[in-house]
């Protein structure tokens, strides 16, 4: 392997690892104020929505509202499947089937 490429990967790995590691390793020994704990409890719904919604609504940083947007059109029934069954593998399978059908139709 080209040593320059290896050095690049090690640099990328380091700056990726530090934010993953520092809070977990260094906050776990300290008492956390109740307010912060309550705040942290809202991080999962917030970050999941923040990852998902742009994926559905944007394409290359532009709004993509159309029936041609199979992700967006498939996401709504997938959401209902998830709400109804609360089952992850079933939801993923339903989403994949929906997106294939929609691509055939749209």
């Amino acid at each position: 392997m080209d040593p320059k490429i290896l050095a690049l990967f090690l640099g990328m790995g380091l700056v990726t690892y530090l934010p993953r590691m520092l809070p977990l390793v260094f906050l776990s020994r300290r008492p956390i104020p109740d307010l912060v704990l309550r705040w942290l409890r809202y991080v999962p719904p917030a970050v999941l929505a923040a990852l998902l919604v742009p994926e559905l609504l944007l394409q290359g940083g532009e709004w993509h509202f159309s029936f041609g947007n199979a992700y967006l059109v498939a996401a709504l029934p997938t959401f209902l499947v998830a709400l109804w069954f609360r089952h992850m593998v079933l939801t993923v399978a339903a989403g994949m089937v929906l997106v294939v059908i929609l691509r055939g139709l749209l």
């Binding site: 990967f9 640099g11 990328m12 977990l24 929505a49 990852l51």
Partner: protein, 228 residues
């Protein structure tokens, strides 16, 4: 070492595997196409292990960007894990620091999402987390290798809807988080804000900004939404 928890974690990685296979595969194909060797392609998946930033790095390498540019961009793209790492702290209290340092190495959006959803209904466990994380990275590294070696022989994964596996998984995980009005509010604001910022501000800041604003709003809203 707790084998039962390790295996439970590995099993819970199934939806992540379904999502990672086509993505890792696509990464492998792309990395080879810009001239990385098979070893280099796989090494990035082992050392860095962060999907979107690996795609961006390949793009930047192709554009002859300087190593510092690539490293700094990687840092910005992956900074959001800071919030996820912090939010795992209450679940993994009392776990030894070396074990936490190991768990943190394979912390991704997907493993974080699956783990926190699991911990709402089960006892949190570092071994569950390890089993989950490790299985997910094995899937990522393996699919990178397959993409890098036989990529040109396999048909477009989008034909089978595989590209939608991760978005669909996030839909399911998000729904499982929506347990009270506060969580609905936080998700609506977080998602909406991330899209608005993502459409107007270049770069990868939208996820962190939207998360911080929405989680803060969640805490503030406890004053006027009764907890249910």
């Amino acid at each position: 070492m707790d084998k039962v928890q390790l295996l439970a974690g590995a099993r819970s990685a199934l939806p992540i595997i379904m999502g990672y296979l086509p993505l890792g595969f696509a990464y492998g194909v792309l990395a080879r196409s810009i001239g990385l060797t098979v070893l280099e392609t796989v090494a990035m998946s082992v050392i860095v292990y962060a999907g979107s930033s690996q795609f961006i790095a390949v793009g930047l390498l192709a554009a002859q960007a300087s190593p510092l540019t690539i490293i700094f961009t990687t840092f910005l793209v992956n900074l959001r894990h800071l919030l996820m790492s912090a939010s795992l702290v209450p679940y993994l209290r009392g776990v030894s620091q070396p074990l936490l340092a190991l768990i943190a190495y394979e912390l991704t959006d997907e493993s974080f999402a699956v783990a926190t959803t699991y911990y709402q209904e089960h006892q949190a466990s570092p071994y569950f987390q390890l089993g989950l994380n490790f299985t997910a990275q094995v899937a990522w590294v393996t699919s990178s290798l397959v993409g890098a070696t036989v990529g040109n022989l396999i048909e477009e994964p989008a034909r089978y809807g595989l590209d939608f596996a991760l978005p669909a998984m996030f839909v399911a995980l998000l729904v499982m988080q929506l347990k009270n009005k506060g969580a609905w509010l936080v998700a609506a604001v977080g998602g909406g804000l991330a899209a608005v910022i993502g459409a107007s501000v270049p770069g990868n800041w939208h996820i962190m900004i939207a998360t911080v604003v929405a989680a803060t709003l969640g805490v503030v809203s406890e004053k006027w939404i009764p907890k249910s």
